[in-house]
């Protein structure tokens, strides 16, 4: 990574196999009982397996990015400033939150605790920082501001993997026991490859896709991932789409 100092990144993908023990990061309601149900997913090979929703991962990522934005002095929209994902009833002063707080007595709940290896894919569209990617209009024209936001996103991404967050972490913080995989980076227009870590040869497959605009960085341990992400935080910048190069040259 360091030999490609300050190289602009158009898109980054994280393809990892992560091991979490004794967690309840994602549940699927209680079906009217006092037993919370774990999230399950049927796979194409006909096995039914434990699963974690990407929605909850995104929710916690958004909260973490908002913290880093606030720390850096980057502007936040009113909803992000108050963590308004409609998930935290207390934050938005919902009437049903008041009802909840008045509830008397305790309810015995059964919460499933699970352990396993999970395949996780994340796509980070770096070029979209400060831009409308539907019409490809750049709104944040100050590149230093874009770089600050880019660093905040990378830090949040790093933290969400090395310090997992999700449902029930107050009482069932997962034990992270393994993290391996590959980060792929596209430096020009196009996609950085993603390949499911459910496939045993996913790192080999990803490595085979490397070319002049696609780099693949494999890692075997959580500390190797952490070091790699720190290198990206220190050395990478969000790319400018070719449509904006002329605007940049005029500045």
């Amino acid at each position: 990574m360091t030999e490609n100092a300050r190289e602009p990144i158009y898109e980054m993908s994280v393809n990892v196999r992560v091991s979490w023990q004794a967690h309840s990061l994602s549940t699927a309601g209680n079906n009217g009982s006092n037993r919370l149900l774990p999230r399950r997913q049927l796979l194409a090979d006909k096995t039914e397996t434990d699963a974690i929703s990407g929605n909850i991962a995104k929710h916690h990522h958004a909260a973490l990015v908002a913290e880093y934005f606030a720390a850096d002095g980057s502007p936040l929209c009113p909803a992000c400033r108050v963590g308004d994902g409609r998930r935290a009833a207390a934050l938005i002063d919902r009437p049903d939150y008041q009802d909840l707080s008045k509830e008397e007595g305790q309810m015995i709940m059964k919460i499933p605790t699970r352990s396993g290896e999970y395949a996780l894919c994340v796509r980070y569209h770096c070029v979209g920082i400060g831009a409308d990617t539907e019409r490809w209009i750049l709104f944040v024209k100050n590149q230093a501001e874009r770089e600050k936001r880019h660093r905040a996103v990378l830090r949040a991404l790093r933290d969400s993997l090395v310090s997992p967050d999700g449902a029930h972490v107050a009482t069932m913080l997962p034990h992270l026991t393994g993290l391996s995989g590959a980060i792929t980076v596209r430096t020009g227009v196009g996609r950085s490859p993603l390949y499911s870590a459910l496939e045993g040869d996913f790192i080999t497959r990803l490595r085979a896709m490397a070319d002049e605009t696609c780099r693949v960085y494999a890692f075997e341990t959580v500390d190797a991932f952490y070091t790699l992400m720190n290198d990206f935080i220190a050395m990478s910048v969000p790319a400018l789409h070719p449509f904006w190069w002329s605007e940049r040259a005029e500045q």
Partner: protein, 180 residues
């Protein structure tokens, strides 16, 4: 000429059957032709800009025959999710209503192939667009490009309108749904 682009689904995906309920969404095993066209238009704008797509690519994409060969195996599960719906009260104040929704999620075994019949002049540009596709439908329905060749769809392998179904093929392997 036909272009055939292969895609890997690295995670679960969810291409909702058109006109189905948002709060209880069944899905198709693969994106339909309309979803493919929309994704090509969106990605075309990213690669070549709005003007080039409007003037040159859009007329081709609008009329190009599209065939989709689903992955070899697809497993579909129902997932319970938190959903939000905007509603307006009498004072025109907009509030988000929260509720539980059910949405099916699919997991694929094997690649999916999109076949696109295009004029030869457009081959190179459409290869670039096919290569840059990152998702079908929802942005969380991730797709990863594997490769593109010049090959035409095989008989009985791709999604087709009922009117074009060959009467000599058994209906059993087909997944029937309203796609457009």
């Amino acid at each position: 000429m036909w272009l055939a682009a292969d895609y890997h689904f690295p995670s679960t995906y969810s291409c909702r059957i058109p006109m189905s309920s948002m709060s209880s969404a069944p899905v198709m095993p693969a994106p339909g032709p309309a979803t493919v066209r929309l994704a090509l238009i969106r990605t075309g704008i990213e690669c070549f800009g709005l003007d080039a797509v409007r003037e040159e690519l859009f007329p081709v994409l609008r009329s190009a025959p599209v065939r989709v060969r689903p992955p070899e195996r697809v497993a579909i599960s129902q997932q319970v999710l938190r959903g939000y719906k905007w509603s307006e009260d009498k004072a025109k104040r907009r509030t988000a209503q929260e509720s539980i929704i059910v949405r099916e999620m699919a997991h694929a075994g094997g690649p999916m192939t999109v076949f696109l019949q295009v004029p030869e002049d457009f081959e190179q540009r459409l290869r670039v667009v096919l290569q840059a596709i990152g998702y079908w439908g929802q942005s969380s329905s991730l797709a990863s490009f594997l490769g593109v060749t010049n090959s035409s769809p095989g008989a009985g392998e791709s999604a087709l309108p009922l009117s074009q179904l060959d009467g000599t093929f058994p209906l059993r392997p087909y997944f029937s749904c309203l796609a457009t």
